[in-house]
């Protein structure tokens, strides 16, 4: 019998973390442990998560491939599938197809400084690669993470941010938009592009990985360019609507590039050759 490429793995929800309003993280374990043992992925990749009865939705794998035995995903309750997923409890079964898409080229980044810039709900794709890099800490030189959200409540992975903040082998800068701070807030206040400009990570021998809402990306890129980052040294991920994840259903392309196959990871240099259909 030929394999059914649309057939998902069954995953049991092992843990649920409420991250921010309408945002939660699932830790997923393979219902069939043998499938879990055979499963591998590389940071940057994504999957299609099913709420049976409602359909599939696409998000990145938010955990690091260095952490075995489970995958994690973080999603915001927005549409039909994510609303249904948000109703699930620990122990419930959901579906997962993947891993799909290309990867962050960690090998290429060996010996370099890494600067991660994330905004709002776009930290999850970077969280996977940040943990991956922290677990391979001696591959890289300085690691800097700049993360911003509208308000303190909107920050995701609050516990991990605390841990990262305490680590001596990385620099974490957390910021919230003006007006988003709360009494007792010890982080920065200001928009992500300004903060990046302020802390001015060195651009020599450095890679920047930027993920966030379009407006944040749009305003951060010139700052990075000013700091001296080249177009091949800036990475981001694209997210377009998908149905198959296999380069067939025809809706995720931006120009000739299929986000599900050629993406989701792109360098700025690559993006400049694509139309802005994202």
């Amino acid at each position: 019998m030929e394999a059914n490429i649309y057939k998902p793995y069954l995953m049991r929800i092992a843990a649920i973390t409420d991250e921010a309003p309408s945002v939660r993280t699932f830790r997923l374990e393979f219902a069939d442990a043998r499938e879990g043992e055979a499963f591998t992925f590389t940071t940057g990749q994504f999957g299609l998560y099913s709420a049976f009865g409602e359909g599939e939705s696409t998000f990145c794998i938010a955990s690091s491939p260095t952490r075995k035995g489970y995958i994690e995903c973080t999603f915001r309750e927005t549409g039909r599938v994510t609303s249904s997923l948000a109703d699930k409890d620990v122990g419930d079964i959901i579906g997962f197809r993947g891993p799909y898409g290309n990867v962050f080229p960690l090998e290429k980044w060996k010996g370099k400084n890494l600067v991660f810039v994330a905004g709002g709900i776009a930290l999850p794709p970077l969280r996977s690669v940040i943990w991956n890099c922290l677990d391979l800490r001696d591959w890289f030189k300085d690691i800097t993470v700049v993360y911003g959200a509208r308000g303190v409540n909107d920050l995701v992975y609050k516990n991990e941010l605390e841990d990262w903040g305490k680590r001596s082998d990385m620099k974490l800068v957390v910021t919230v938009d003006p007006g988003g701070e709360k009494p007792g807030w010890t982080g920065k206040v200001g928009f992500v592009p300004h903060i990046v400009e302020q802390i001015a990570p060195p651009a020599t021998n450095s890679i920047a990985i930027v993920c966030g809402p379009p407006i944040m990306i749009k305003l951060t890129l010139p700052v990075l360019a000013k700091l001296g980052f080249g177009k091949n040294e800036i990475y981001t991920t694209l997210e377009n609507r998908m149905k198959c994840g296999l380069g067939k259903c025809g809706r995720c392309n931006t120009g000739k590039s299929y986000v599900c196959k050629d993406g989701p990871v792109y360098t700025l240099a690559q993006l400049e050759h694509l139309p802005a259909e994202y």
Partner: protein, 339 residues
């Protein structure tokens, strides 16, 4: 090397009977209530020999709705049930050569990377008997795409009408041979003086190879907005198209069980690319129209080495506002030549 025979119209009838007797379903262009549909062919008289069916034959290998998965809700657990496509052995008889070629354009998408067993199973069970066109209309443009009204590509057997009646049957593949073997004695050796009815004249309107090059520089042309102003954003063009392959995946379930279905979809529709957040990468009709043209004439050849169009013109005939693809592409080519 293909084998060539002649077959009389009467013998075609026997040939059709032999197919049916072997358990094959025979479908082909047939007049139903004033429209040409791909429908059951019982006798040779059923076969409409010229003119295009409204909807293409792609539904035989890529149904408008098909089941990909079934599942049952069992307490907290899900019982997945794999689905095998129920593909009845089928002969597409008297298909236009353009439509016969279209299966390749579907195949490259369903198999360029991972293999789609639903398409493959149905395709493996399908034999195509093409029929050369001796007439064409204003929407036809196979010749602009490097093809011909008597193109053999995609057919397992190609029939071409003879002036004296009957057909030349060119047997092109093993599937074709297997079909001929069902009624070997209905075929006669080809006479040296067999004169064919000349194939339809289809004047080339542009050159698809050149167009592919030209499109590279035309993404931001105002032409797309100009051409698509009358486009209504429906999916008629995509749904009648023999090569349009874009699909949707939808779950349907009750409290006990559910199924995952694949259904035809169209890039012309606004919700095709609409994100749940409300953001839409192709928010305007002009962007969607451009996507349709680029997908078929730039992205397909570049990524998959073939055009995503066969020049059948079904889209143009089905369009409620007469978006004529051949005219539009000729216009694009002309605009490109004027820089």
């Amino acid at each position: 090397m293909s084998e060539r025979y002649t077959i009389t119209e009467t013998s075609v009838g026997s040939f059709l009977q032999a197919m049916t007797a072997s358990g094959r379903r025979v479908l082909g262009p047939k007049l139903v209530a004033g429209r040409i549909e791909i429908a059951d062919i019982n006798t040779f008289a059923d076969v409409v020999q010229n003119g295009q069916s409204v909807v293409s034959a792609k539904g035989v290998v890529f149904p408008k709705v098909e089941r990909l998965l079934k599942y049952r809700f069992e307490g907290k657990n899900i019982a997945l049930e794999d689905v095998e496509p129920q593909a009845q052995p089928t002969v597409l008889f008297g298909l236009r050569p353009c439509e016969a070629r279209a299966f390749h354009a579907l195949d490259v998408v369903f198999n360029w990377d991972s293999k789609d067993k639903f398409f493959n199973t149905r395709m493996a069970n399908t034999t195509v008997v093409g029929l050369s066109c001796t007439q064409a209309d204003e929407s036809c443009f196979c010749t602009s795409l490097g093809s011909r009204p008597d193109d053999t590509q995609g057919s397992d057997i190609l029939l071409s009408p003879l002036k004296a009646g009957g057909f030349v049957a060119e047997v092109l593949t093993d599937k074709g041979k297997a079909l001929v073997a069902l009624a070997k004695d209905t075929f006669q050796p080809l006479a040296d003086d067999a004169a064919l009815v000349p194939p339809a004249t289809v004047a080339p309107a542009f050159d698809a190879k050149a167009l592919q090059q030209e499109l590279a520089a035309m993404f931001d042309s105002p032409l797309w907005a100009e051409q698509s102003l009358r486009c209504l954003g429906c999916g008629a063009c995509a749904f009648v198209c023999p090569t349009c392959v874009c699909f949707d995946i939808q779950d349907e379930a009750d409290t006990k069980q559910g199924q995952r279905l694949r259904a035809w979809d169209s890039c012309g529709m606004r919700i095709f690319t609409l994100h749940a957040s409300g953001h839409n990468p192709r928010d305007k009709q002009s962007q969607r129209w451009r996507q349709r043209v680029y997908h078929k004439f730039a992205y397909y050849p570049e990524r998959l080495g073939t055009l995503g169009c066969v020049g059948c013109g079904k889209c143009s005939r089905a369009c409620p506002v007469d978006m004529n693809l051949k005219q539009h592409l000729a216009q694009v080519a002309e605009a490109a030549s004027q820089g």
